[in-house]
Structure formats: C-alpha cells, structure tokens
C-alpha cells in the first residue's frame, strides 16, 4: 500500500472521509487500513476506482454475520461498509417485485413488504443484509420450494474492481436478455465485485402455516418419510430433518403454507404420510432458519435425496471414527444437511470428521463443504481439500475470477485464490 495520506484523500473525494480500521473491523486477524461507507452506487464506484488506483485489497461488509465464513482474505486494505445503502428503492406490489439496496437489513425489508402481504421467500436472519445474503447464497428451510437467493434474484447492480458499474437482469421476472450476472454473483462471497442493489421476485405471504412433525428411531424410515413428504403433491414448503446426535432419533418437520382451510386439510394428510405425527401452528423448538456456525465447525453436506440414508450412515461412521458428536439439521427434503461440531472439540478431531466424511462420499453426487470453522480446524484441513473440498470446473472459475478481478484485489485469498 502506498502513502496513507494520499490514499485517504482519494477515498475522501470518492465517498466522504474514511475512518481508520479498528480491532472490531478485523477479519481473519487483519485490521483494514480504511473503512468507507458509500451512500450510493456512484460513491461506491468512486471508492473502488480509488482502490484500483492504489491497488488496495477490498473486503465488502454487510452485517458481518458471515464475513468469517470460508477462507479468510489474505489482505484487507479497504473495507467497504454497506450500512448507508439501506433503502427499499422500489416495491411494485402489483408486479411482485422489489428493488433494494445491498445494505438493507432483511428484517427491515420484510417489514416493508409485509404491508402489502408479500415477502422475499428466504428464511434468513433479520439482521442480515440483502447484499450479504446474496453474496453468501444463504437460504433456510424453504429452499425446497422457493430455492436460494439466485432463484429469487431478477436483477443486480454491481461495481467491478476497477469501479465500472454494471447491471444485469432488470425488474421483470421473465427476462432472458443477456447473461445473468446475478447467478454468478450469488454465492461469490465478495470475490468478483461489489453488489450495490438487488431486485427480487416476491411471493404473497401465505394466509396460514402449519408444521407437521414426527420422530423416528430408524434412520431408514425417517429417510423414507423425507422423500415421501418432499415428493408429495401436498406441496411442502420445507422438509427439515434434525438429529441432535449422529446415532440418535431423527425428527422430521414439514411446513405447509396456504389458506387456513387448505393447510388444515393438507396437514391431516401429511400426518398420515409421516406415520404418527403432530401438527402445530408454531414451528417446533428445533426448527432452524438459515444455518449458523455459532463458533463451531459448520459443514454442509449435499446429496440426492435417494442417497440420504447412505449420507446419514456416513456421518454416523465418520463421527464415531473421529470421536465427535455433530448435530445434524437442515433441509433434508432438498438434499442438504448442516453438521455442527462444537468449538471446544479438538481441531484435529473436527477436521478428521470432515476428512472421513469426504472420503466416504468421494465419487458420489454432492459435496462436503466446510462453511465456517475456527482457524485451527481450517488449518488442519489444509492439504485435505481445505474448506471447499473438491470443486469441479475450478479452471473455469479461476478464469472468471481473472476476468472480473484481474488484480485479485476483491477479497484476495478467499475462493478461488485459496485453491
């Protein structure tokens, strides 16, 4: 990095006086030299132009909830704090579309949309920002029915590493003009460009929700229940699984959304499908939203639902071999499970569990990806696939990174740099 005073001046001209980074801003132990908070896409573009001129490594921060996920950046000169870009720019209720700034909190957006009986159908934390949710690809139980941010995103505004502002998509749901950059940016964790605005397709809020839950001792029968619920024309919005210990009983929960009469009738039939089951208007206490590492090692296993029994077996065996007891929970009906190992478990055992699970699932469809882990666990995984594990088409991904960020200044050291 060059002369701090000169850089500070350039950033001031771009988007107001930057502040010095503090310990609270540190990411992976690196304190950024500067923190700026642009108030518009234009200001953000000016900041990134200044960053390009001075070759600054840039990390973007929304609420910061998942900034520690994945591999940490290797450098961070400039942190771009999106908190000043927090408005719902446009909500066209008749079109079921909303355009929001990236720094807006999902809870605030939800409150604004709720006034017209609509929602962005992602179960993510209220404090998470729009940009953070898109960049991390975060989704909760209802991904079974509505997908993940990439499925609901219909337009995006980004600023490239060199300060170029670009948009793709638009504000109509049906649109195939041009490449869909939103897909590429969703889940890119700030490594390709800065997201400043996102436009979503909305869904009407359901009049009623009912949860149907059942508990199983046999993993095989539980898996059959998951498949039956997810494949049922009763249209489940979510089919969640929870197994607090890797060889313990399994709880299955099915969310039905619709009219009050409709969900009542569907819930009765869904209960028949699950065997002895309970219905409730409230989610069971174990119902999770989006996954949360809570300081431990959070691993995501994906599979075809037909392979769910094999995956549960593999988790049980890997946990036994590594001497850990992960909690298992997640949208099993969508072929996703999140495994969480406590932070106080020794790093080599946490990492050993991941390695064993990867070995068991090697060659199968799906993946074993560590979303978040304490530094010691991450280091123990180096040489064993790291956080991401095997990534097909890595060469193409690197080529995409090279094109968007030729100087490797956007969250350098994260994927795919780390691979």
């Amino acid at each position: 990095m060059g002369d701090l005073a000169v850089i500070g001046k350039a950033l001031t001209a771009a988007c107001g006086e930057p502040r010095e980074g503090e310990m609270a801003d540190a990411i992976g132990g690196i304190v950024p030299a500067f923190v700026v908070a642009p108030g518009s896409t234009d200001e953000a573009a000016a900041a990134l132009r200044a960053a390009a001129e001075h070759e600054l490594a840039v990390v973007v921060r929304g609420a910061g909830g998942r900034l520690g996920w994945g591999d940490p950046p290797s450098r961070c000169d400039l942190m771009i704090d999106m908190s000043r870009m927090s408005s719902v720019v446009e909500h066209s209720a008749g079109d079921l579309v909303a355009r929001v700034q990236a720094g807006a909190r999902m809870g605030d957006v939800a409150a604004a949309l709720e006034r017209d009986g609509q929602e962005i159908a992602l179960d993510v934390p209220d404090q998470a920002t729009v940009g953070g949710v898109v960049a991390s690809g975060l989704a909760g139980p209802r991904r079974l029915r509505y997908g993940t941010p990439r499925d609901l995103l219909i337009g995006i505004t980004i600023v490239r590493a060199d300060g170029t502002v670009a948009r793709s998509g638009g504000k109509v749901v049906k649109n195939v003009a041009g490449y869909d950059l939103g897909k590429l940016l969703a889940g890119s964790a700030g490594t390709l460009a800065l997201i400043t605005e996102a436009t979503f397709r909305l869904h009407p809020l359901p009049a009623a929700r009912v949860y149907v839950t059942a508990e199983y001792v046999s993993a095989r029968i539980a898996c059959d229940a998951v498949a039956a619920a997810a494949n049922s024309p009763l249209v489940a919005s979510a089919v969640e699984l929870s197994r607090p210990s890797p060889d313990g009983p399994i709880r299955i929960g099915v969310l039905l959304e619709g009219s009050s009469d409709g969900v009542a009738a569907r819930a009765m039939r869904m209960a028949d499908l699950l065997g002895p089951a309970e219905t409730s208007l409230e989610p069971p206490p174990w119902w999770r939203g989006a996954p949360d590492a809570e300081g431990g090692t959070l691993t995501r296993v994906s599979c075809w639902v037909s392979a769910l029994p094999a995956v549960l077996d593999a988790i049980e065996a890997a946990a036994r071999d590594a001497g850990v007891s992960p909690t298992i929970a997640g949208p099993a009906g969508a072929g996703v499970l999140y495994l969480r190992v406590d932070p106080d478990v020794a790093a080599d055992r946490s990492a050993g569990f991941v390695r064993a699970l990867r070995a068991a699932r090697s060659g199968e469809r799906g993946g074993v990806v560590v979303l978040a882990a304490p530094t010691a666990v991450r280091e123990a995984l180096a040489g064993y696939g790291g956080m991401a594990g095997t990534v097909p088409s890595l060469a193409l991904m690197r080529a995409v990174k090279d094109q968007f960020d030729p100087g490797h200044r956007m969250a350098p050291g994260r994927f795919p740099d780390v691979m």
Binding site: R150, R167, G178, A207, P233, M397
Partner: protein, 506 residues
Amino acid sequence: MAESTATVASTASAARGGAPAGARAVALAPAMRDICGAGNVLTDPLELRTYECDGLTSHRATPALVVLPSSADQVAAVVRACAAAGVIFVARGSGTGLSGGAVPHAEGVLIVMSRMRAILEVDPVARRAVVEPGVTNLSVTEAVRPFGLFYAPDPSSQVVCSVGGNVAENSGGAHCLKHGFTVNHVLGLEIVTPAGELTWLGDGTGVGSGYDLLGAFTGSEGTLGIVTKIIVKLTPAPEAVHLVLAAYDSLEAGGRAVTDIIAAGIVPAAIEMMDALTIEAAEAAVHCGYPEGAAAVLLVELDGPAAEVEGELATVRSICEAAGAREIRAADDPVQRAGIWAGRKSAFAAVGRLSPAYIVQDGVVPRTALGDVLARISALSAESGIRVANVFHAGDGNLHPLVLYNDAVPGETEAAEVVSGAILDACIEYGGSITGEHGVGLDKSRYMPKMFTAADLDTMQLVRCAFDPASLCNPGKIFPTPRLCGEVPGHRRGPRPAAAPGMEIF
C-alpha cells in the same frame, strides 16, 4: 435478412485474402468423419442448406460443415478439432428457436445434437432425471409421469424442442409464472468447454460449490460451450388442475381481472390472454369454440393440492365476474382443458394464416404496465396501418405481439419492422425487457444497447472471455459488439478469426 447474411460471408472471405468461405471448416471434414463416422458428417450443399436457419426463418446462413455426434466424447473431439484449427462452431438442438440463436456460421461447423436423445437415468426418489441434450422437452415429462412427476418448463414447442436448446435459451413456457424457468429446474450440466474439455457444472443437488457457473451458463444461448448431459429437477404432478376461461369486451377488463387475481395473493400456474384478432384466427384454425365476438379471452390455470385449488377457483371466478366477464367457463378434466388450451397453443400458427408474413415479438413489461403498453401497441398499429395480433402471458407481462404484413407489398416489410421495433422500445421504456423467453440470438442483438449500457454488456462479456477467449463458440449472438478478451496470464488462448474489426456485422 438473407441478403445481409450473404454480405457477411463475402466480406469475411474477402478479409482472408479470397479463400472460399469456410475452406478451413471444410478441411476438417476428414477429421470429423474419423470422430463421428462418415455418415454423420455432411458436406453436400443441398444437405447443408437444410440447416440454414432455426425457427426464425428471416436469418439464414449455410454452414460450411455439419456434424452429428452421438456421444459427449465425440462432441468434445469435434470442438477440440475446431479449436485447434481456429474454426467457429455452433450447436443446434431441434432448430425451433425464435431468435436465430442457432443460425450457423457460413465459415463454421454446425454441431447438431439431435442424435443424443437418451434419457439416461430417472431417480423418482430424488426427483431427478439425467438426459441427453437432444431429448425433447415433453418426452422428459412422459418418461417420469408413471412416478407422479413432471418436468415443469413447458415452452409451446415442447413436443419438438430439445432440452439442450431449452438450457441454451433458459426457456419458459406458459406455466413458468408459478413454476419458474429452465434455470430453476436444471441442477447439473455436463458441458464441452469451447476449448474442447468435458466438465460438469453442478451435480444435481442444487447446492453449488464455488461460483454458480451452472446458473451463468443456463440461458447463455450456446455461447459458452455445448451441453452434453443435463440433470433436471422433477416436480410432483399437481393433485388438481383447474382451467378458467373468461371472455371480456375489452382487453382492459381482462387486464383488471389479472391485476385483481395477483392482488388477492394467488399465483396461478398460468395466466394467458388473447385479443379479438387472435381469437378469430384460432377459431378458424382449430374451432376451439371460444365465446363469439369477445374482445379478449383470459385463461387462468390453477394447480396444486386439491384443498387449495378449490378455494382459489372460487376466488378467481368471482374476480373474473367482478371485472365484467361476459362468459366464464371452468374445466378440470384433462380433455376439456386440452380443448381450451388448443386455441391458445395454435395462436401463432393460426395468426400466420391471416397474413403472408409476420414477426413474433417477445417483449416483457411489468404486469402493472400491461394496459399502457397494449394501448401503445394499438396506437402504433392504427398509425401505421400494420395489423398487430396480441397473445400474451399476462401473468408475467410477457407479450407476444404478432406484427402482420404482406412482404409482397413494397415498403410493408420495413413498416412492420418499424412497428416491431417501436413495441420493444415501449417495453424498455416501461422498465421491461426485449425478450422474455425467445432469447436475443442474432435477431435482437441490435436492441441490446437500448436495454443495457456499454459497461453492462462489457461486463457480461467478461464471462464469455473466461469461457471462450478465442470467440469461436457461436459468435455474433447476443452481443452487438464482440469484446476483445485481452491477454490473461496463464490462460489458454486460441486464434481469433472473428476478431478483425468490422467483420462481425450480425
């Protein structure tokens, strides 16, 4: 259009010092025969001519060579041969595209995917199927129906169009209002990269690792590589399906019903509208028995669990009545529904009989702007004397105006193109899109700068540069101006025959 394409070929060959157009592609014929078998490589000019256009006949170019590979390995070998020789290649599915996306390149190889039509795997428990790209859209649903499942994207051409083509175009269909587009139902692709390497994007789980190249590839109109296997998501077949037909004395009244249905929090599987001209044409063609003299016919299809659909049906009926419907019919059995849908599905062909020539547009407007844009279209039609028939996916604001003209009347073709362009201008002005499901292809690339800035288009082309730095894979489509990809350290680069300024004038 045919004329301008011919000009492209001759300009291009002149730029190469007078070598006949496509000589380098033709020179690949022996290698291609080794790869695909002698019978699967076409060089006869008459045979080549059959591939000169896709479903949009106004853009034509005869390919230098046509190959019909029958496996992913063959496709990869074909592409490698093209890449090594610096020869352009274009993939083609069933040839039903409506934007000229699969129009061959006069100097290039056309890779026809129709031999690869196996359904390789159906996993009803996981709700997944693995299919080859030449498989027709409808045959996927037919193969999985016994398991109570279906493949949701249903473009009107679903009987013949290929899933590979659907991936290229991110096809929609009448039911994408509720069920989403191809991109929401394709969870894995085996592709041949423009360098000729086989690789997978996505593994069918819907959970990505790294960048979502699967999402970026879907809808890239054959410009980022060639699909050789597709993992599709299957959907449980709906328990109940009800189709409501409502006839109105004006398009505005029908439009009010659409607005009120959405405002009631109902997301129907499909909402379609046809105007008087289209109704008349459909009636003459298939005797669909739509209410006589109606100015607009609205079709609303509801699907889902029986317990929900019954309630929605009652609401939709009362909304349609309140909006002033002169007649309402409802059908829940498949035969009756098919009878009602027949009018809508025959609309394009039927309107074609009203006129010697027509242009189908595919613009999109926000649903709430439908009324304004339809009024604009009607004014454009009145001013120009060019008739426009309107049939559209009202639920998602996707218009398919059919601009009718007689190409034998001097000046009428030009007048029709002016009207057609003005309709797209109106779509853009109201915040919509130039294409909802047909793609940009060759046909609409010139409109892209009206919808996107130079920086937007440049940024999109970064993706192209990552996949196809040599610009050999279906060049000249989507983007009006190709981007020079620039040297990227450590990245493989091929020759770039298409990069000479002024050559790519599609």
